[in-house]
Symmetry: C2
Subunit: 481 residues, 2 copies
Amino acid sequence: MADTITPREEDYSQWYIDLVRSAKLADYSDVRGCMVIRPNGYAIWEKMQAALDGMFKATGHVNAYFPLFIPESYIQKEADHIEGFAPECAVVTHGGGEELAEKLYVRPTSETVIWASYKKWIQSYRDLPLLINQWANVVRWEMRTRLFLRTSEFLWQEGHTAHATPEEAQDEVLRMINVYKTFAEEYMAMPVLIGRKTDSEKFAGADETWCIEAMMQDKKALQAGTSHNLGQNFAKAFDCQFQSKNGTLEYVWATSWGVSTRLIGALIMAHSDDRGLVLPPKLASRQVVIVPILRGDKQAVAEKAHALADELNSNGIHAFVDDSEQNSPGWKFAEYELQGIPVRLEIGPRDISSNICIAARRDTGEKQQIALDDTFAASISSLLDAIQQSMFKSALEFREANTREVSSYDEFKKCIDKGFLIAHWDGREETEAKIKEETKATIRLIPEDPDFRKKYSMDEPGICICSGNPSKGKVVFAKAY
Amino acid sequence: MADTITPREEDYSQWYIDLVRSAKLADYSDVRGCMVIRPNGYAIWEKMQAALDGMFKATGHVNAYFPLFIPESYIQKEADHIEGFAPECAVVTHGGGEELAEKLYVRPTSETVIWASYKKWIQSYRDLPLLINQWANVVRWEMRTRLFLRTSEFLWQEGHTAHATPEEAQDEVLRMINVYKTFAEEYMAMPVLIGRKTDSEKFAGADETWCIEAMMQDKKALQAGTSHNLGQNFAKAFDCQFQSKNGTLEYVWATSWGVSTRLIGALIMAHSDDRGLVLPPKLASRQVVIVPILRGDKQAVAEKAHALADELNSNGIHAFVDDSEQNSPGWKFAEYELQGIPVRLEIGPRDISSNICIAARRDTGEKQQIALDDTFAASISSLLDAIQQSMFKSALEFREANTREVSSYDEFKKCIDKGFLIAHWDGREETEAKIKEETKATIRLIPEDPDFRKKYSMDEPGICICSGNPSKGKVVFAKAY
């Protein structure tokens, strides 16, 4: 049963922690910064994995698995990469009771160990493209952690592709960031902006990083997925060349892209409320809970509830019944609201005689009567669709209401806790760093959606809000998780 | 294309290595003893995971995820456990650039880290049973490795359950070893014996270990799955007590059970041949390859091939076409035999005019005509079923032909390379150790299948083949992977 959840208005961070604990989504472990993903949380990840994996396969990718351990010499091969990742690695120094001749890094990401294999597998243009994804755990030692959002170990997928031309690699980068956008919007009901990172925010070892950015309910940004154009950096580091169609030897072009269990944190922060988790129906492993009101002929009511669940399940809707007499209907209502079950059906003796039941939506709390005739399963299916759409719409309206243009640094500072700020920037790293230091806001992305760019006239030149230097265009700033 | 595969008769070990490499199932990495599971190998694991995961959920289990790292103090809590596992662990001593206050072991198995959580989650009998499974990577430092069969890192699932009574725990142990048996026989087409391990072969920390044992084509045994009754050992080590129905405080009863990517090695060794992989249809991600014979009206032939593939796919059979003109039909036949595609369909202009195609079975090489009428998809479906059944039957006949009773130690030594030996044993560890030292054979299991026990009169008392001491019953010996 629910412990008390701190209201969002009172303390958003505490609300998040309380919710994750109360809904039994995750726990900290005794290993500093490592989490236990509990069954309720892992069920969300399984739904995410299934949807994403299907989308990866539909775009021609296959799965494989590469070693957890990366020899120190591999990590050192790409200069930016080691600078970015080595300080946050966990290091294995002993194995089988002996000190190792070479230290092993627990993978923080797998570019190096994968490109060591690609070098063996790629000889000719006929071996390209190579389109491989891996589902795995990775470790990045974190000082300040937050369940799902930032933990020392997390689960993710990492795609690693190899191409014969830079154009094909760039197509792949864009294809996959758009797969992520589709997943975020259609499954998570979470609108995202799509665009490029500035040089200071890009992946260590990438030429260019694309990302999707979402707005949480506290108006902070959350980076939900990235897709990197790695150029020939890793091919050069691992001396991976191929014979091109016209017989020349060339370095292979690379991409990598990933999303992680961080998305579970994003999902919670985007939609949930003070009563608990709110799950979009497409990511709910249990979509409908049926709570029979056990009065009068209890057995008949319970049987009807199970018959309705069977009917829904045979129509592809995941429904279950809680007919335990140990807990009251009120207790059950609160418990399944906490767990985020999208629809609750209540059915009692009088409903049965009227041939109806009551459906309560988790997202809005609205109740409606549903006829128990041959339209029943279709009605519930429509209701689930409506919830999915309406959750997306609410989140989009929220983001749009909290995205604004600012034209001075004063205005910027005043508004920085109010959401996404669109402002002119002179393109210099030192300006970006100064803004970050003074306001804690970062450039989330240089948006690339044409409609968004047009809406905010992002291509118009202007004056940098911070430095006063000329600016070639606007970018999106926000505080971020 | 296939490199040359050493024939099994010539060198079985080399055949295995050649096959794994040629069929692109796995590669060694530069990290000693760690493997890369290539897409062709990982596709088998994905099919295995899907089938097993469905069976786990159907028996009431849910998935979760626990940390990769185990504090040294956890491992030390269970005496047998540390003795068994500590020497083969990889140890993290540094994280985030600093030496850690407490060493972290990369999990060799997760009993300890999971029971540290269970202690927090279990207070009352109402919290029981707890039926959780985890899909994860584990590391056990190995000196002598073999792809899939024995590697320092491997993938597996580990079930960890908590119960209020020893009877419930024992029921779970048996339920899960029987799930494994069903999976091995119905999906892998690999017959297994089911039974208990002797004390010297059981899991470090278990009261009793149940296992399934299969016979490979070289007549060696392979342990394919285990299910452990952990008694109250881990509950006591982690002080995990619950309030029982009658109000007393009691230690929780535990089980754990697992299978790993080792099963891929077992699958290869059980069925494959000198031409390459032989996959049972239920574990083949690609079940049917259609090779059009591109003569005459090439386009019409290719179109017909694609139409047939579409028809099969829409009937739930995974079919694909190879209509590339770069490679000859003969090359394709060899390539897809190497890859283990269960059925090959050949179709040329004359076949189309006769409204037939030729189906070749991968397992037996038999060819037959298939009518291209409205019975087509059903014919292929029946053929796949027949292959699945016949692979199991062949493997069962092979095992039965190579299982024999021996009544003297001389006979035992003469026959130990000829398969499973059923022999009297006095029940003493020192006898077991002596036999192992002198013959390299181990007691694979004390079979518990009543039919098997009856067939070999295993309950009849007799004389130990090695020591001459009285024996209460027979056991199964073999050399093993």
